[in-house]
Symmetry: C2
Subunit: 320 residues, 2 copies
């Protein structure tokens, strides 16, 4: 028996695989290294329980051949579908990116799960599916979900396709609506951006926007813990949960100040105008995790603590 | 200035075009006659304000050429995107049908609206996006939307893509979540099915399921009226509305009895088992139109009246 992880070389994939291997699972990883990095997999390569395939799963026939081969040795019982475009602005400029890397990878995964009788999918969705609902707390039972980026749109489209497949041939689906997740290996995001800037120019930190954007942040260790908790605790056929920090979050200014404090205390922070960093960014949202709390899971770190920990880890990563 | 209607030869398309032409609009129709019928367009073909193109808009380059040509003569200011797969069971069997005919036609439409600066889209979504929520009244502000068919999934995916495009380049979008719409030209649905069966075997009517499925029905004349009302009355950039009859609906048994009464009073009605006709069918739902009522629109016919009218029209259609 094996577990397939798509997007294996990405930020969440790497952390999930470490956890699954530590529990003795056989893990088949797949990645096209379009955004994921080969370096992220080095720690697993000598583990006999880890099998890696470098393919682009938006290419159906390559994906099909890979699964056929993998199945013959270790039947796949779960797919953790994490592969996706993670560059939101790029996807707004060119909608074909999210279509191919986020949605078609989901549809191909579902088609192959039908073909090869793989019963369970675990999907990395996103708070971005909610769009910009202002001060309305984002809980799973509100609507309409009107995403403002193709990233969010193709995550919502993927949820919808998984839901339809669950009615017809899947045994089980977990849909996790991720918050802003932080930690290492960091590939994008405001913390990595600030740290790179400060390493390049230690005396000044230019911040996009006025710094008042407020968001909640969850450390990736807690995200992995929450997903596995939901997998074990939820009895719904389609288990759809927001995963988040449960607090109102911290501002970009807080993050800038913490980064400067840890990395370059003498730097001046210069702010821009407006509270939207880029088209498709949701400037402020209140992310409800009441459903997950009722199931029995709560994070151990608040946003400020998660940010502090992640900044420290990313600084080490960037200086390594 | 012109209005482009995709799915021009379909059930709703035909009725919409009749209305738009009656108001003096120049209408460009497009259809691939995959499900729409050439016969449906006969009444418009001598109208100088109607221009028709037979192409498959899931083929991007053909669609692009068509718009380029059409734009040069009459700049397109609105697209009414009605083209979609309408055969829900077929789409459950083969997910590529809804992907191509429902979702890719939407994505191609959006990409071309960006390229040619077409400001406004009017989109035929569906109550199917809600999935099976049991007794929860389906209003626009509930979630999660977990469709149980690829039809519903690709309609929801289309909504999501339109929403993202509205944030970035569209001036305006109206998303209409259609109920069960009835009238002529009928191409599918329970009434047409019953009428065809009764014409073939006038003494017996076999009903799929136990006849207890209860749904609301709206006559297509009212649907067109509601869409144009929303277009004029709603000020939201993304105007998303359920359109429906506003009542609790009538049962399949009521429809069977009315059809028999009008067409073949001597027929015996034989029922099957269960209250789901087919995978992907939502057996019963309460469809809220409170948002639309607040905007100022209500239907004039209830479900029973709409069904009676439609059965009479479909009988005439099938006997012609």
């Amino acid at each position: 028996m094996s577990i397939l992880v798509t997007g294996a070389a990405g930020f969440v994939g790497t952390n999930l695989i470490r956890k699954l291997l530590s529990e003795g699972e056989i893990v088949i990883g797949v990645d096209n290294f379009c955004r994921g990095s080969k370096n992220n997999l080095i720690e697993f390569l000598e583990n006999p329980n880890f099998i890696f395939h470098e393919i682009d799963i938006s290419d159906f026939s390559k994906y099909q051949k890979m699964i056929l081969k993998a199945q013959s040795k270790f039947p796949i019982v779960e797919i953790w579908h994490l592969a996706a475009n993670s560059d939101i602005p790029a996807g707004i400029e060119d909608s074909s990116i999210d279509l191919r890397d986020t949605f078609m990878t989901t549809l191909n995964t579902l088609t192959l799960m039908k073909e090869f009788n793989v019963p369970s999918i675990f999907f990395a969705s996103s708070s971005a599916i909610y769009g910009d609902l202002g001060d309305t707390p984002l809980s799973e039972n509100i609507g309409p979900t009107l995403p403002i980026s193709n990233y969010g749109a193709m995550k919502l489209a993927s949820e919808a396709a998984i839901s339809a497949a669950s009615e017809s041939y899947l045994k089980r689906a977990c849909i996790f609506r991720f918050p802003n997740v932080i930690g290492i290996p960091a590939t994008h995001g405001v913390m990595l951006d600030f740290i790179k800037k400060l390493i390049a120019t230690p005396l000044v930190l230019n911040v996009l926007g006025d710094g008042t954007q407020k968001k909640g942040y969850l450390h990736v260790d807690e995200l992995i813990d929450a997903m596995l908790f939901i997998k074990n605790a939820s009895k719904e056929k389609v288990s759809l949960f927001n995963i988040g920090c449960g607090d109102q979050g911290i501002t970009v200014q807080d993050i800038a100040e913490e980064t400067v404090r840890q990395l370059s205390p003498q730097a001046n922070i210069l702010y821009g105008a407006g509270n939207k960093g880029w088209v498709g960014d949701v400037p402020r949202f209140i992310y409800s995790i009441e459903k997950l709390k009722k199931l029995g899971w709560s994070p151990t770190l608040n946003s400020a603590q998660a940010v502090k920990k992640a900044i420290s880890e990313i600084i080490d990563q960037e200086k390594a």
